[in-house]
Assembly symmetry: C2
Homo-oligomer: 328 residues x 2
C-alpha cells in the first residue's frame, strides 16, 4: 500500500516533487492540481491526471499527503492553513522572519482538523536549520555561520531584471573562500556582509543601453547589492540560455566551539550542500517529510510540525531494526 501524494502547483518545485516521488517505491503520485487550464499542463508520470485547483475537494479521499508548491510571499500563507483542514500537508515556506505567524495559523487549522502539517521544509529552512540546532546544542560555547552558494538567487536575479535597460539576467551568490577558511580555523571571526559573500551578475542589456549606468544601478541597489562586492558581466541572450539555465545552489553551516574545563579544546562541525538543482533537492527533502507526515498522522499526531519536531526515523522507509543494523 503506497502513500498517495498530491501536488498543488506545477512549477519547478512541483516537477521536482514528481521526480522525487518516482525514486521512492512506497510513494505514489495520484494527482496534480494547477491554477492554469489543466489541459495546458502536461506532467511526466504516465497515468497521472492534472486537475484545476477548484476540483481539489472532489479528490480528497484519494490523497494521503498534499504537497504545496506555491510561493512564500502570497500563496502559502493562505494555502497551507486552508489545505491543512482537509489533508496532511507539507510546504516549503521560506520567509524566515514570518515563520512564527505561519506556524501559528497552520497549527490552529491542522490541530482542529486532526491533520499533520509540516512547514518550512527544504534545505534552508530545513536541513540547514537542523544542522544549526544539532551543532549549536552540542557545542553551546561557540558560534555558527551560514554561507550560501555558489548558486542562483531568484530574488537577486529578479532585481537585476527590473533595472532600466536590462532584458534578462541571472545572479550567483558566492561564498568567499577567505571567510570560509577563517571560520574553519576556529578563530570565530566577526564577518561583515561584504566579507562573507560576493555577488556575480550575468546581464543581457537592451540594444543601445548605457552599460556603465546599468552596472552602476546594480552595484548601488540598496538591500540587494549595495552591501556586497558585485561583479557585473554583460552577455548575449544566447550565452545566458547556453551557460546559465541551471538552478544550482548550496552552502555551508559551520559551527566552531570549545569544550574542556577551561575551553581548551576546539571543534569544527561543518555541513555542506553542493546542488545541481535547487528545486529538485528541495523536493527530495519535502518528499521524505511527506512520508513522515503520513506516518505521524497514522499514529494520531496532529498540528503543525517543523523539521525540529520530527524524529529522523520517520523519514526513512527502513524499519527501526534495519536502521539500527545498517546505519547506526
Amino acid at each position: 500500500m503506497s502513500i498517495r501524494i498530491g501536488i498543488m502547483g506545477y512549477g519547478n518545485l512541483g516537477r521536482g516533487i514528481e521526480c522525487a516521488v518516482k525514486q521512492n517505491n512506497d510513494l505514489e503520485l495520484v494527482a496534480v492540481f494547477t491554477r492554469r487550464p489543466p489541459e495546458t499542463v502536461s506532467v511526466l508520470t504516465q497515468g497521472v491526471k492534472v486537475y484545476h485547483v477548484d476540483e481539489v475537494m472532489q479528490h480528497k479521499d484519494e490523497i494521503d499527503v498534499m504537497i504545496l508548491c506555491g510561493g512564500s510571499a502570497t500563496d502559502l500563507p493562505a494555502q497551507t492553513p486552508e489545505y491543512a483542514r482537509h489533508f496532511h500537508v507539507v510546504d516549503s515556506f521560506d520567509t524566515h522572519a514570518r515563520i512564527p505567524e505561519h506556524f501559528a495559523a497552520v497549527d490552529s487549522s491542522a490541530s482542529q482538523s486532526g491533520h499533520v502539517a509540516v512547514i518550512s521544509c527544504g534545505w534552508d529552512p530545513g536541513m540547514f536549520s537542523l544542522n544549526r540546532l544539532y551543532a549549536g546544542t552540542i557545542l553551546p560555547d561557540g558560534k555558527d555561520y551560514t554561507f550560501w552558494g555558489k548558486g542562483v538567487s531568484q530574488g537577486h536575479s529578479d532585481a537585476i531584471r527590473r533595472v532600466e535597460g536590462v532584458v534578462d539576467g541571472k545572479q550567483y551568490t558566492i561564498p568567499i573562500d577567505e571567510a570560509l577558511e577563517a571560520v574553519r580555523s576556529g578563530k570565530n571571526p566577526e564577518l561583515t556582509t561584504r566579507q562573507k559573500h560576493l555577488r556575480e551578475c550575468f546581464v543581457v542589456p537592451a540594444e543601445g543601453a548605457d552599460l556603465a549606468k546599468i552596472e552602476q544601478d546594480i552595484k548601488t541597489m540598496p538591500n540587494y547589492f549595495a552591501d556586497y562586492d558585485t561583479i557585473v558581466h554583460f552577455i548575449t541572450k544566447e550565452e545566458l540560455v547556453r551557460d546559465h539555465s541551471g538552478i544550482p545552489h548550496g552552502g555551508f553551516v559551520i559551527r566552531s566551539g570549545k569544550t574542556g574545563w577551561e575551553g581548551e579544546n576546539s571543534h569544527i562541525i561543518e555541513y555542506s550542500l553542493k546542488l545541481d538543482s535547487n528545486p529538485e533537492f528541495t523536493a527530495s527533502v519535502i518528499v521524505a517529510y511527506a512520508r513522515a507526515a503520513y506516518r505521524l498522522g497514522q499514529e494520531g499526531t496532529k498540528g503543525c510540525k517543523t523539521v525540529f519536531d520530527i524524529a529522523p526515523a520517520y523519514l526513512s522507509p527502513l524499519s527501526g531494526d534495519e536502521l539500527r543494523a545498517h546505519l547506526l
Copy 2:
C-alpha cells in the same frame, strides 16, 4: 530546577561529561561513581562527591539521568540494561555489529522499569549515523561514504603496543585526499580499504629492539594494518608525550546522489567533524541526549531509543517558539 546528572565511570569520557555539564545551565552534576577507591578519584566540580559504584542505589532519588561511561566490550553490555532498571540512562555503546542485541537487552529492561535509555550516542555511532540516515533518505539514488580522521585510533594504538619490542605508541587514521576528492566529484567511485585511509604510527621502541622487525610486524598485522598503507616512525618516549598526547579525531560522511526524471542532476551532501578532543566531543553529544532522555521520561516515554528515534527539538534547551524564531 536543573536536570540532575550522575556519571558512572570517571575516565576520559567521564571527565568530558563533567566539562560538558558545566557548559549547560539547565544541567547539574550531582555525583560521580567509580570502581576505584573513591578517595583516590578527584573531580573538577566543586562540591560534587565521588562514591563507590556499590553505593549507587543509595543515591537513586538524587539523579535524573545516569550517564554510563564504561567501555563497549564488557562494561556497557552489562551496565546499561542493569542501570536502566533504576535510572534514565545514556551510553555510547559503539560496537556497531552488536547494536541490535544491545538494543534488545536495554529495551526490555527500560520498558519494564518505565525509564528512557539512549544507547550508542556520540559521533559514530551518533551524529554520523544521523547524517547517513538524513542524506540517504533525501537522496535514495546515491551512495554514501564514511571517512574517519585525522585522528587517534585507540584500538590500533593498543595493537601497536602489543608488538614485541614496543614500549609505547600512537596510531593516527588519515583519510586519503584523493579518495575524498573523488567522492566529492560525484563520480561514486568504488574504493578499497587501502584507497580510503592510511595509517601513521609513532612508535617508541625498547632499547636495542630490532626496528626493521617491529616495522614489519606492524605493517603485516592482519585486520589492523595489513590492508592499509602504513607509515611507521620511531620516536622517543619524550617526543611521544610532547607531540602526541592529544586525542584528536573527526571524519566525513558524504552522500552523492542523483535527482531528476532521468537522474540528470547530481548533489553532494557532506558532514564533517574536526575535533581536538574525541572524548570531550562525544561527551557533548551525550549530554544533549541526556536532556532529551529526561524530557522524554517526563512525557511518559519509556524503552530504548537511539539518535534516530528522538526529535531534534528535545536536545535543545530552547523552547519550540525560540527554535522556530531563531534557528529555522
